[in-house]
């Protein structure tokens, strides 16, 4: 059997079960005695609940429980309020509903049909309230308040401790970053650029909707099977809500059918547990596609950006105001605001900054984490304006970026030192891939094209982002008596290929075949703590923890050899899965047999990674490592209609070290395709607070038919010294440059600037018409 390795493509360990349809996802599972749960949701964006009467619903045959506010308010065993940052959510609505789709009540019944019938019989009297439906209205003085007051948790995320709601307003959080002297900076500038950019709410649209099975023992023991990216956060939140120690909550996570950030933090778990508790039976809730749109979205944003630039293109000052529509509940909006703020300077040295980033409550479904959150909003503005500046100063957009872009050792906006910065390598790679230097082709009519009115253009964009810091990942590995290895981690396999990469890392350390390694599924009763599978953090953090755990096993094997064979420690070496002694070599199974005296026994290795708020230079650290990436697009635009086609897209990400190269390319191309959807057509549409496209016909996802002929995923390798074998994270980076790269390519082709996503043919057409009427 071939030994495991890194830097080499191995067939993923989760593939066989998936291509044969045998993989069990949550909606495929059931437990004995299980009922089906359904949720009654608000038809109004904002309303006071005057009366709820569930008595008729309870009479429907097969109904086991109906959950309303009375259950959660009058139960000593339930803390009704929860949330990952602020306690502004309730299991079901208490006084008010705050968005269309807000849960009002829930039913558990023996059949789905009975549950649905009972939902219709729950009587709710609402008193409609004025609603705030966009950030501008929400921030007006005297605007209706979404939350009259917000409860703060006793303790929460270390990196968000300073962010608080602004009492008496709809400001959920305000993050401010200042650097240098902003007035002096603008005074030094030769040119000042002021632009406003917007992007709409979008939806993750994982094909697997949120789901949960919950079971509550009479003794209070809670077991949930959950579609979650962070089982330990869900465990903590459930323990707080149901007032039990975390050890009494067990969270099991099967394979996820996609996550992309939309399955972090509690979603359907609290309501399912409450139902199961009341019904006295296990309950399964599987959300419909429509319900997913009410559960979580990506933040829409309005970004006002003012930038001062020297004649030679040097950026000297930036003032930026970012308004993020966080919807009715904070969820992780405070961190989205913070990350947008940190990256409003882009990957550029700008000495003078004044950044104000707000997450703002509105009466819309909650917005939360979506692949590259905060940065995908700010980068739309940063990278679009870079090209506005480049065009005005007649500087090549690639050169302008390289002139101002971060190098190794530069200071980030927080004054911490950047290391392992592959920004310019990424820019050069994507430029090369789309033929950036080929100026004669660029911006010219397409040769050989039938139409006289097709123009081709190229655009480029780049980004920097951080990973959640501080954080913790722990791993346990067990060496079995036959030298096979079991790996226990809290990392959720949601499609990213974590199982395989973690096995490759452990297998490389121990020099054993991949086929002898089993990565176990996530079960918080069994695996050690991990903060979250998000923020592109698992390869770096959990990969390192697994590496340390494997090294712990090797240390133990060495000690056994020293003791049992009487060989001095410095004469014991490892090579090719064997332990070499001066006279002989031993395989691991022999050493195990020697240690235990029989065919049995286990060695347990542990590894832990804990990142700190201080970096290795003693500076305040906002990120354990840095993500750098670039993208470049080539488009064809029809000047008569505005219709455009993406001809090619190149994406380069500084991956540190590509542990599984095919897996890396999948992540890069996949993130880019999500970016293509958001750039070109995805948008949640509202009418007076009602979602008018909460389905996959009207909310359009990219399909094979929308793909450019070529997507070129490129791995740049600038190793990070703290990552396993130099690896960094890669899950989110490639998405972020896509929209500005395409907008910049459209500008290059036809000279019109689209500042509002998505970039649609009609917007280009109208902008082209406007240029015609101008004198």
């Amino acid at each position: 059997m071939e030994l495991a390795d890194i830097g080499k493509t191995f067939r993923r360990l989760d593939y066989e079960t998936k291509v044969t349809g045998r993989a069990q996802y949550l909606a495929d599972m059931s437990v004995p005695g299980m009922c089906h749960g359904k949720i009654l949701r608000s038809p109004y964006p904002h309303a006071r609940i005057k009366r709820i009467d569930a008595s008729k619903a309870l009479k429907v045959p097969g109904v086991m429980a109906v959950l309303t506010r009375d259950d959660i308010l009058h139960d000593e065993g339930i803390e009704p309020y929860y949330g990952p940052v602020f306690k502004d959510q309730t299991i079901v609505a208490v006084e008010k509903v705050r968005h269309v789709g807000d849960p009002v009540a829930a039913v558990a019944a023996l059949t789905v049909d009975a549950a649905e019938e009972a939902l219709k019989l729950i009587e709710v009297d609402y008193e409609e309230l004025p609603a705030v439906l966009n950030v501008d209205d929400s921030l007006k003085p005297g605007a209706t308040l979404v939350h009259e007051s917000v409860k703060l948790p006793a303790s929460g995320f270390a990196d968000l401790a300073e962010l608080k709601p602004v009492e008496g307003t709809n400001v959920c959080t305000h993050f401010r970053l200042t650097r240098g002297d902003i007035q002096k900076g603008f005074a030094e500038a030769d040119h000042i650029f002021e632009d406003t950019f917007t992007l709409p709410a979008t939806q993750h649209s994982f094909l697997e909707t949120h789901a949960c099975i919950a079971s509550v023992d009479p003794g209070g023991r809670i077991t949930v099977w959950a579609t979650t990216q962070n089982p330990f956060v869900v465990r903590t939140q459930l323990a707080n809500i149901f007032k039990v120690p975390v050890a009494k909550v067990r969270v099991i996570v099967p394979y996820l059918g996609g996550g992309y950030g939309g399955k972090v933090y509690p979603k359907v778990e609290p309501i399912t547990v409450a139902l199961a508790q009341k019904a006295g039976r296990p309950v399964r809730v599987v959300l419909s596609r429509e319900e997913v749109f009410y559960t979580i979205t990506k933040h829409a944003a309005v970004i006002r950006m003012k930038t001062g630039v020297k004649k030679d293109g040097t950026l000297v000052a930036r003032e930026c105001e970012i308004h993020l529509d966080t919807g009715a509940y904070a969820e992780i909006g405070p961190r989205v605001a913070k990350k947008s703020g940190y990256t409003a300077a882009g990957p550029y040295r700008i000495p003078n900054l004044k950044i104000d980033s707000y997450s703002v409550y509105t009466n819309k479904p909650p917005a939360g984490a979506f692949r590259g959150f905060g940065v995908s909003q700010s980068a739309w503005a940063v990278e679009s304006q870079m090209d506005i500046i480049a065009a005005a100063l007649k500087i090549d957009p690639l050169e302008l970026r390289k002139q101002n872009g971060y190098d190794e050792g530069d200071k980030f906006v927080t004054e911490e030192t950047l290391r392992a910065v592959g920004l310019k390598e990424c820019l050069d790679e994507v430029a090369k891939s789309i033929g950036w230097e080929d100026k004669t082709f660029k911006s010219s009519k397409v040769q050989g094209s039938k139409s006289e009115n097709i123009r081709r253009g190229k655009g480029i964009a780049c980004m920097i982002k951080a990973t959640i810091t501080p954080s913790i990942s722990s791993a346990v590995v067990k060496l079995n008596e036959d030298a096979s290895l079991s790996i226990y981690t809290g990392t959720v396999e949601m499609g990213q290929g974590s199982e395989t990469v973690l096995a490759q890392i452990a297998g490389k350390e121990l020099a054993i075949p991949l086929q002898t390694i089993q990565v176990l599924g996530v079960d918080t009763d069994v695996v050690p703590y991990d903060l979250t599978t998000s923020s592109s953090r698992s390869t770096f953090h959990m990969g390192k923890a697994v590496q340390l755990a494997a090294q712990d096993i090797m240390r133990q094997l060495k000690q056994i050899v020293v003791k049992e064979y009487g060989v001095p420690e410095d004469k014991v070496t490892f090579a090719d899965g064997k332990i070499r002694l001066p006279e002989t070599q031993l395989d691991y199974a022999e050493v195990m047999f020697k240690r235990f005296g029989m065919q049995g026994g286990t060695l347990v290795g542990e590894g832990q990674v804990k990142t700190s708020v201080k970096n290795e230079f003693g500076e305040k650290s906002t990120s354990a490592f840095w993500f750098l990436a670039a993208g470049a697009a080539e488009v064809e635009v029809d000047v008569d209609t505005g219709k455009f086609k993406l001809i090619k897209y190149a994406t380069a990400v500084d991956v540190g070290k590509a542990l599984n190269p095919l897996g890396c390319r999948q992540q890069l191309a996949g993130a880019a395709i999500t970016g293509i959807g958001q750039a070109m057509f995805e948008e949640i549409a509202y009418d007076n607070g009602q979602l008018i496209n909460p389905n996959l016909v009207d909310y359009v996802l990219p399909s094979l038919g929308d793909m450019p002929p070529v997507i070129d995923p490129i791995c740049v390798e600038v190793p990070d010294r703290n990552g396993p074998f130099g690896a960094k994270g890669i899950g989110e980076s490639a998405l972020i440059p896509v929209a500005p790269a395409i907008a910049n390519a459209v500008f290059d082709a036809v000279g019109v600037r689209i500042k509002d996503l998505p970039i649609k043919a009609e917007k280009i057409f109208l902008a082209l018409e406007e240029t015609k009427t101008k004198p």
Binding site: G21, Y25, R289, G495, R665, G705
Partner: protein, 153 residues
Amino acid sequence: MKKTISLRVNGLERSVEVEARTTLLDMVREQFGLTGAKLGCDIQVCGACTLLVDGKPISACSVLAVDVDGAEILTIEGLSKKDALHPLQEAFMEFGALQCGYCTSGFILTAKALLEECPRPSEQQIRDYLAGNFCRCGCYQEIMQAVKNVAGS
């Protein structure tokens, strides 16, 4: 109202009593325990529930079980023989044509129908035929490669 229907599922004769409004997808998943086909959109656009009915790809979420009385159904579970995977399953693994796997059974069955209709499809034919299946992880390029490889085109 219940009705008894007879059909062949993955080569086995089955006779089953279903409610008149039970969908083909619910019957296959709940009554036969074949959960490889997934409910994604529930309105016949995402392709995750694709099954082959008499060789043709069908969105099982939007077809009634009673309407496939007498039909031959193939699900992903019936595609591979005990020790041998179908060439499409092998190619999907080799080219990395899946990540989370939720769309995979639908893509593989749709691709199988394509190759039966058209053994040597052009790139455009593959794009058109598979445009009714979504892969939200974005493995489209790899899916193209896998299908082209099996087709030898």
